[in-house]
């Protein structure tokens, strides 16, 4: 067992964990933060994307012990006082989801993009989301949602 201290969504946690415990499993099974789903478990799909110390990671490809001393933000830590962020609102308003399974990862990856590039082109949005799969294939509205969240006008008819 290895002792870890992690701050997750603004709450400090301390735990003894097996070194082999994946961050995704720690968040879900130990902390009950099931807002971060596990999709493929092979680092392909990006559903489990969270923020670790300021950049996105696939939490199925990080050990909990690697996050020791770190700061994790999951999709559940984005809203402040129950108020969604502009990006979350945008996914809602633009219907940037169908089944919703990929949505937490999509939002975390899009948030990472907008931090580095606040006004991306449609192509840049697609590049930034290349590690996140939507098996409903609802990409058009996801891209529109990200563009709209960046404050850009999005024509509903135009290809996103």
């Amino acid at each position: 067992m290895t002792h870890i201290k992690v701050n997750v969504d603004g709450t400090a946690y301390e735990d003894d964990v097996e070194p082999r415990l994946l961050l995704a499993h720690y968040l879900r099974d130990r902390l009950g933060l099931t807002g971060t789903p596990i999709g493929c478990d092979t680092s392909n799909c990006g559903a489990c994307t969270v923020d670790l110390d300021g950049t996105t990671v696939k939490s199925c490809s990080v050990l909990a012990v690697q996050a020791d001393g770190g700061e994790v933000t999951t999709v559940q830590g984005l809203a402040k006082d129950g108020e969604w962020t502009a990006l979350q609102h945008s996914f809602h308003e633009r219907h940037g989801l169908q089944c919703g399974y990929c949505t937490p990862g999509m939002i975390m990856a899009a948030r990472d993009l907008l931090r580095e590039n606040p006004h991306p082109t449609s192509d840049e949005v697609r590049q930034a989301l290349e590690g996140n799969l939507c098996r409903c294939t609802g990409y058009q509205n996801i891209v529109r949602a990200v563009l709209a969240a960046s404050g850009q006008q999005v024509a509903e008819e135009a290809p996103a």
Binding site: P19, S43, C60, S61, L63, G131, N132
Partner: protein, 284 residues
């Protein structure tokens, strides 16, 4: 999928890491960013008794100059390599190829040293470092040694590193003024290269003076397309480049898998070499 159980060490210096690896003998495994190792562990394709997490050894991270050589710490992430001004100026091929590795979240964690030590011939960076005539510096119980890239990749997923050695830095000669392009053929954006070609070209007086061609996934190790390199020397236009690229698959032994037959890979090596060189030189 849950990895097999292992002991865990988190050294804070290279010496401490090497001691831990030496103690573990054949049963130790280095964890850097984990983007190759963790999938292997989850799929139960690796069963180390000890995982040595070198992720918190600051001296392994960062890029510096050493005369005509660029020195990149093994733990420098793909994300940082892509954005590093020294890499962009002196080893643009490395920055460009690294930008095609996997996806942003993987590039945040994955490291240059990790992807080289993993020695996957389908990985993009081994062929790139080979094309750059890079050298790899390993730290072991008896000090450091420098291994040329051409001797580093021994076999499929097998590098020249001994079990008690840690890859600490990657040294590449500065290639200012050379043009370059990495041309990758893959099934989806984040998939492994079915074949990739790293082209590094020096031009003089309107023709190609010298070309280095690294091949991804054309055998058990990354390869240099030496016959094509020789044929490219002196090429003065698109047709000459196309003729030279016909030699790109000579001496390769590509594998068969669900994506491609060996013959198809040989075809891709020729086509992608032509494209890579034409794009690099602006002749296309």
């Amino acid at each position: 999928m849950i990895p097999p159980a292992f002991e865990y060490a988190r050294p804070t210096s290279v010496d401490e890491a090497v001691r831990a690896l030496a103690d573990a003998g054949e049963e130790g495994k280095v964890l850097a960013g984990g983007q190759s190792l963790l999938p292997l562990l989850r799929l139960r394709l690796a069963f180390p008794e000890l995982v040595v997490d070198v992720g918190r050894i600051p001296e392994l991270r960062g890029v510096r100059e050493d005369g005509d050589t660029l020195v990149i710490g093994a733990l420098t992430t793909h994300h940082d390599v892509i954005r590093d001004p020294l890499v962009r100026r002196h080893a643009g091929l490395l920055a460009a190829a690294t930008a095609t590795v996997a996806d942003p979240a993987v590039r945040h964690r994955g490291t240059l040293g990790g992807s080289l030590a993993h020695a996957d011939p389908a990985g993009d960076l081994p062929a790139v470092v080979l094309a750059l005539d890079g050298e790899l510096v390993a730290a072991g119980p008896h000090g450091r040694r420098t291994i040329p890239a051409r001797d580093f990749f021994v076999d499929y997923l097998q590098s020249a590193l001994a079990p008690d050695e840690l890859l600490v830095e990657v040294r590449v000669p500065k290639r200012d003024g050379w043009s370059f392009h990495y041309e990758k053929f893959h099934r989806t954006a984040q998939a492994w290269a079915i074949v990739g070609v790293a082209a590094l070209v020096r031009r003089a007086d309107g023709h190609i003076a010298e070309a280095h061609i690294g091949l991804t996934n054309m055998g058990a190790t990354p390869l240099r397309a030496t016959a094509a390199e020789e044929a490219l020397s002196g090429a003065d236009g698109p047709q000459a480049v196309a003729r030279a690229a016909e030699a790109a698959a000579e001496g390769t032994r590509p594998s068969q898998d669900l994506s491609a037959s060996p013959e198809y890979r040989e075809h891709l090596a020729r086509v992608l070499t032509k494209r890579a060189v034409l794009t690099a030189t602006g002749m296309g």
